[in-house]
């Protein structure tokens, strides 16, 4: 039983998170992902011993190429001729300058699919702008919208858009592979990480264009719909004064029936029986008093106990889980073995850790999770497989400095 993308060859010039996340998921599903790196570029988060690199580059083979040498660029040109997919997240034009751009490659490999995951896309007054995820979050509207009313300085607490750009890149690649079956040729995909980010505010943008409304942050309230209680509530169980020690539970009553059941969970306190709380609109109008009442209930209990009591009677509730909760306690992740150690030992780290694919194929299981490879670790294997080079020729190129 082969994995669903066995036989697909991917040449991966990408770095940091967005591009490597796209190719990681394709490698997990069996694609032969060859990651190009070099001694010169392997610094900071691109260093093969940096945890950031370890996290996003499992299930890939590592080829070291010195792109400042003509021989190195020639090796890459030949690899491009054999690739199904070539991916990069450089600024526009870098691969062209190396002589491995789409236009030159497709003449000899018409089936090739190129995807460029640049920050701003090709063309336009901002096309040369430099972006990391926090930049994209800011200019795409995500920072302004994720927060509490009156504040535009909070935003999402992690690089959401980097992951999403990677996942959107994977969708684009897979769609182009399907399209190649019909077209008989590959194509080029211009993906702007900025535009991926803007897309997430789709309903709000339509609200602007149709109604001239510019959405504002709403905390944990639904921005356009009515539901209450719908918030995170403080709980008991705090071991210190630091924010990191706080314990919280999220409770979301999406229907009047769930509110009725939740009143029972709280022991039917008198305040909750006031008629103003009978309807969702009444609860939203009186949300300050509602939340005060709910907090009186939650603050003496653990979030785990509240979650279990709520879920038992069909009320959506969940612990606000931090990293320790996810890794050490989450029984659902434990049951599926979602967080695990990769196969193989990796230098001073010994074992490395990662998550698995969040979906399982019943006929073509993807259960190989091989550790990250050192820069150039697979020089011989890759160049033998892709270019029929002999081991002696590869060693010679390594000694000449072409493959390092």
């Amino acid at each position: 039983m082969s994995r669903p993308l066995e036989g697909i060859r991917i040449l991966d010039f990408s770095h940091v998170l967005a591009g490597p996340f796209a190719t990681r998921i394709l490698g997990d599903m069996g694609a032969d992902v060859v990651k190009i790196n070099s001694a010169a570029r392997a610094v900071g988060a691109n260093k093969a011993t940096h945890p950031f690199y370890i996290m996003w580059n499992r299930n890939k083979r590592a080829l070291a190429v010195n792109m400042s040498s003509e021989e190195g660029r020639e090796t890459c040109r030949k690899l491009c001729e054999k690739a199904d997919i070539v991916i990069d997240n450089f600024s526009v034009g870098v691969l062209d300058r190396w002589g491995v751009g789409y236009e030159s490659t497709r003449k000899v490999n018409p089936g090739v699919i190129y995807i460029q995951m640049s920050g701003m896309g090709e063309g336009g007054p901002w096309s040369k702008f430099v972006t990391y995820a926090p930049t994209i979050h800011a200019i795409a509207g995500l920072t302004a919208l994720t927060g509490v009313p009156g504040r535009s300085d909070i935003g999402i607490g992690f690089s959401y858009n980097d992951h999403q750009a990677g996942l959107h890149g994977a969708v684009a690649i897979l769609a182009a592979l399907e399209s190649r079956q019909n077209l008989g040729r590959g194509q080029r995909i211009d993906m702007s990480q900025f535009e991926v980010g803007v897309n997430f505010s789709g309903p709000s943008l339509l609200d602007y264009f149709v109604n001239n409304n510019s959405s504002e942050p709403t905390g944990n309230k639904l921005p356009y719909d009515i539901a209450a209680p719908h918030a995170c509530y403080p709980c008991a169980g705090v071991s210190g004064d630091a924010v990191v020690d706080e314990r919280w539970v999220a409770i979301a009553c999406m229907t009047d029936e769930q509110w009725g059941a939740f009143k029972g969970v709280m022991g039917n306190p008198a305040w909750a029986d006031e008629s103003v709380f009978d309807s969702a609109s009444g609860r939203v109008e009186n949300v300050t008093r509602l939340d005060e009442g709910v907090t009186k209930y939650t603050q003496t209990l653990s979030p785990e106990d509240i979650m279990v009591a709520c879920q038992k009677v069909g009320v959506p509730a969940g612990v606000v889980q931090n990293a320790e909760d996810l890794v050490e306690r989450d029984p659902q992740l434990k049951q599926s073995g979602f967080l695990h150690t990769d196969e193989g030992e990796y230098g001073k780290f010994g074992v490395t850790y990662s998550d698995k694919l969040p979906f399982q194929f019943e006929a073509t299981p993807c259960d190989i999770y091989e550790r990250v490879h050192r820069v150039g670790e697979d020089n011989v294997a890759v160049l033998q497989d892709w270019l029929d080079m002999s081991e002696a020729d590869v060693k010679q190129a390594e000694e000449a400095g072409t493959l390092k």
Binding site: F158, G219, C232, A317
Partner: protein, 392 residues
Amino acid sequence: MAETKGALAGLRILDLCDERGIYGAKMLADLGADVVRPEPPEGDSLRKRGPHSEDENATPVSLWHAFFASNRRFFSLDPENAEGQKQLQKLVDRADIVLSCDGAFAVDAAQLEAAQSRRPELVVVDTTSFGREGPWADYLAPDLVAAALGGVCAVTGDADTPPLKGFGELNFMVSGVYVAIAALSALNHVRQSGEGQRVNLSVHESIVSCLEHVLMAYWYHESLPSTPRIFPRRGSLHWSDSYVVMKAKGGSIMVTPIPDIEAQIFWLVEQDAHQDLLEEKYSDPRQIMATTRRVMEVLQDWVATQDVEPLFLTAQEKHMPYGWVLSIEHVANNPQLKARDWFVPYDLAGAATTGPGAPYLFSETPWTMGSYGDTGADTQALLDEMGWGDAS
């Protein structure tokens, strides 16, 4: 007929998703697949999701639904009666891929296991909140609860706010993208082998897989200088301590001295705003963390005196990845998006407007936005295509 020239032209998909998977169905529909979305005769419950159009002379349209159910063909049926059940089976039998979420409309009636037995080439992507087994398998998790359990809320928000979820549908847009990836990967296997299959997708695992530093810090904090094992929520301050939103004149801006801290210090010197940054201790590469912290402090003072827009544009001219914190109104009028013709025309049940465009541009197979229809708008056309009058 939804025949297009998109990348997925000719692919037939049945969309039985709720919020947890609908974004994946949208992605495939916008890429040109023929995606049919059944709904009850009274209309998809997601048509009630706001925001709605506010034209007092027209019936309100759910803009949420128009976005997430774009490029669909809507089929009205009642799975409780024999005719509806038969129509549903015909829709299943014409599909290459079925996307389902447990408990969503018509999923149980679709009898997908039997359909897979009849047609081994069929792909089914089944989305559940926590997986089909396990202690939380029956737990209910709307967006806020999914975000809390998935690790999002613990690191989003500030010390003086509660933990926060992302705005709108950010969490289910993660599970949604994975739905599209799972479907197309399984399709690739069908193309190679003829073999379809079921793919089981967990929303919880999807969200946990996209937390950037959260798990990394827990597992590898000993290898990362000054990095705590568990991060609290701390506003916009990045885990590396080198990106944060600052107040400028006329707005907020995400400021960072990364990747070239020397260039940032030089710019502050040019502006005579460097304070003590020319002291020797700040040029010691071994003290880079302390230098970064001090540069951030000096930047706070200086940024507060600068007008936000020219500051942003000048920083970017200098290849510094500052990010102006833009409102939706600013995004809707953004010059980069305008230059790339990113916003596209929308036809919302007869009303013309403008809306979000493609997250990727294909050189050979255009992404298109078709018109959006009312409840069951394509039922008759699909019945005709399926030869309903003849067959039934």
